[in-house]
């Protein structure tokens, strides 16, 4: 275990001009991004609360502290693009524009949920919105992105596939096979590694012998970008650049957004592998407060966004709780088309 709190400075490897980006986005969209970050935070806090009260059967992986990655990345995509994400995926799913009610219903295993209560927290998908689902298998979505990219290319639809995975996933063999295939065929895929610096108890520093996961891009002959993952605009800029490259037929990019997981890995994690000080120090870099500050919002103005988000989440809980359980008579349904 590292005794030194990990307080690394994350240097962007592409220029990130906040003023320029804010001008391009416009104030309304920027505020909407902040609202989405607040919605994710509120959803995760509620999920944690429901879990603590014994109302959730299963596990969950919270993305509190990582909201900038989900929001920055998804805003850089266009309508009709595809999303593949991972187990810590509530944020990506919400930022993709999913209905918070249907997400909460899925989290609580209800028939009205996105996956009729069959999938749960780790498997939320919304195929109608080209959200091809979260994944319970670390790295499980990465090879699928090759097929999605191939299909886009064959169908000539100019869509892009955003594939989000963790630092841990980059050490599965599938990562290597997939990035290489995407590269040799110039597939329109954005590989976004949401590096929260730990894979469960494994610190990134022990699992890799390189400084930056984006360095791996050179092994595949594609661009690699690292950005501060707690800066929503930096993530936006990086993913936008990668998406433009993909859409114009030049192939994939590996984007690494460095962030930090505030909570334990999942439901039962004593977090013996890191210090309290380290967690506290990273909490000082709260992506929500940071963005609110950049937008010049006061505490009171931010509070309005937070309470609006909480209101939506409460309504979602009410919706989910009023929803029916799946009927046992339907248990055999849905295995085959």
């Amino acid at each position: 275990m590292s005794t030194q709190p990990n307080l690394m400075v994350i240097e962007n490897t592409i220029p990130v001009d906040h003023d320029q980006l804010l001008t391009e986005l416009g104030r309304d969209q920027a505020l909407d991004m902040l609202a989405t970050m607040c919605l994710i935070r509120a959803f995760e806090e509620k999920a944690e609360d429901l879990f603590a009260r014994g109302m959730v059967h299963g596990t969950m992986h919270l993305s509190i502290g990582q909201e900038a990655v989900a929001v920055g990345a998804t805003r850089a995509m266009q309508k009709g693009d595809y999303l593949l994400n991972h187990h810590r995926g509530h944020g990506h799913c919400l930022a993709w524009g999913s209905d918070v009610n249907l997400m909460m219903a899925e989290f609580l295993g209800k028939e009205t949920g996105y996956c009729r209560g069959r999938g749960g927290s780790m498997h939320i998908a919304n195929v109608e919105a080209n959200n091809l689902g979260a994944n319970g298998i670390v790295g499980g979505g990465i090879p699928i992105s090759v097929g999605v990219g191939l299909s886009i290319k064959m169908r000539r639809t100019h869509q892009v596939c955003l594939t989000i995975f963790g630092d841990g996933a980059a050490n599965e063999g599938a990562f290597h096979e997939s990035l290489n295939m995407a590269s040799i065929w110039d597939l329109p895929v954005v590989y976004l590694c949401e590096n929260n610096q730990y894979a469960m108890s494994m610190p990134m520093t022990k699992a890799f012998n390189i400084e930056r996961i984006s360095q791996r891009a050179c092994a595949y002959g594609i661009p690699g970008i690292t950005v501060d993952g707690n800066d929503v605009l930096a993530v936006y800029a990086a993913v936008r650049q990668a998406a433009e490259r993909a859409r114009s037929g030049q192939g994939p990019t590996l984007v690494e957004a460095v962030t930090y997981r505030w909570r334990g890995h999942s439901k039962s994690d004593r977090q013996a592998y890191r210090t309290r000080e380290e967690v506290k120090a990273w909490q000082q870099r709260d992506p929500i407060r940071r963005f609110a500050g950049l937008l010049g919002l006061s505490e009171q103005e931010l509070a309005v966004y937070i309470s609006e988000a909480q209101r939506k989440v409460e309504a979602a809980v009410a919706f989910a709780q009023a929803s029916p359980e799946p009927d046992v008579s339907t248990i055999l349904e849905g295995v085959y088309a």
């Binding site: 299963g58 498997h123 319970g136 799946p326 046992v328 248990i331």
Partner: protein
């Protein structure tokens, strides 16, 4: 005798073998300071150090390969796959390498390692964290497959598995980890390939594996009250399979029910049924031999659906009753 939990029994077996044999080491994801996802290796890194309790990146093919290579060259690794589901990522190394090396090399090499993994549903972990894949391995000559149902068996079988000169797939169950039972403090071995008669009875033979042994025992208690006496056999090792006590039992009872959690089609139950009907027990059968197993679906997330996806005590009671009463 002292009572400890199934997971404690596993930990004790690991610690005792490591203390005794310097070639034994542990390798897997989050098995060090985290102590393993289910706590099986808690405290072992403190006791044996990082050199013998090795945390890996998330690389299941690599873990399997590391076990094989180290085993080929004089070590006795015990690997951990965090959930049995993820062993699908290790399959090539296990099935095409570990299982075949000795044979392909004309018997001139050995690959002594154990790969531990928890299978099964019941924790709300959904379709990709609840698999029961033991029969995939049963189908592969060269592998051994062990599936303990009690703390006592877990310790004795794990020690025997580590001492075995072959690759052993050691299938634990998430719901059993907290189950307590009597376990001797000293080291002992339960030979691989020995079925165990868990309970004697004259009316029906139930062959059950893993958590289903516990459920069959509860069912047997209820059936006893109705005057039905159930004999329960736990194969404990699925490959090699000791079918002698099973066949003997069916000759006595004339009826057999196989219960496992894995999906029925292509499951281990088919093998047991075949062994019975291919044997002299066939002539003693008074009823069809039946299987009670997981439904033909992935494990659902919803708690109620998950419950109904695999055999429960009441299903065993009902099925046993039908067989004994002759109404199917």
């Amino acid at each position: 005798m002292r009572e400890i939990t199934y997971v404690e029994a596993i930990r004790e077996a690991l610690a005792q073998k490591m203390a005794e044999d310097p070639t034994v080491f542990l390798i897997g994801e989050d098995i060090g300071i985290y102590g393993g996802a289910f706590g099986a290796t808690a405290g072992l890194i403190e006791q044996f150090g990082e050199e013998r309790v090795i945390d890996t990146p998330i690389s299941e093919a690599g873990i399997a390969g590391a076990c094989i290579g180290a085993a080929l060259t004089g070590m006795r690794p015990v690997g951990e796959i965090q959930f049995m589901d993820f062993v699908t990522l290790s399959m090539e190394q296990l099935v095409l390498q570990a299982a075949k090396i000795r044979f392909m090399f004309g018997g001139k090499a050995k690959v002594p390692f154990v790969l531990r993994m928890p299978g099964g549903s019941g924790t709300g972990a959904a379709a990709q964290h609840s698999e029961s894949l033991e029969n995939w391995f049963v189908h592969v000559p060269g592998l051994k497959v062990v599936m303990p149902s009690t703390p006592y068996d877990a310790k004795g079988l794990l020690i025997a598995a580590i001492e075995d000169d072959n690759p052993v797939i050691f299938v634990e169950h998430k719901l059993l980890y907290k189950v307590k039972g009597p376990v001797p403090e000293e080291m002992y071995r339960i030979p691989l390939g020995q079925s165990h008669i868990v309970r004697e009875g004259k009316d029906l033979t139930i062959v059950a594996t893993s958590v289903m042994v516990q459920r069959a025992l509860q069912a047997a208690e209820q059936l006893q009250a109705e005057g039905i006496e159930v004999e329960i056999i736990d194969p404990r090792t699925l490959r090699p399979l000791d079918d002698v006590p099973i066949i003997r039992s069916v000759k006595k009872t004339g009826r057999a029910l196989v219960v496992h959690e894995a999906v029925k089609m292509g499951g281990f139950g088919g093998e047991i049924v075949a062994r019975i009907v291919e044997s002299e027990a066939f002539d003693y059968l008074e009823a069809p031999v039946r299987r009670l197993a997981g439904l033909d679906i992935p494990i659902p997330y919803n708690r109620t659906l998950e419950y109904h996806a695999v055999p429960q005590v009441e299903n065993i009671v009902e099925e046993a009753r039908k067989l004994v009463k002759g109404v199917y």
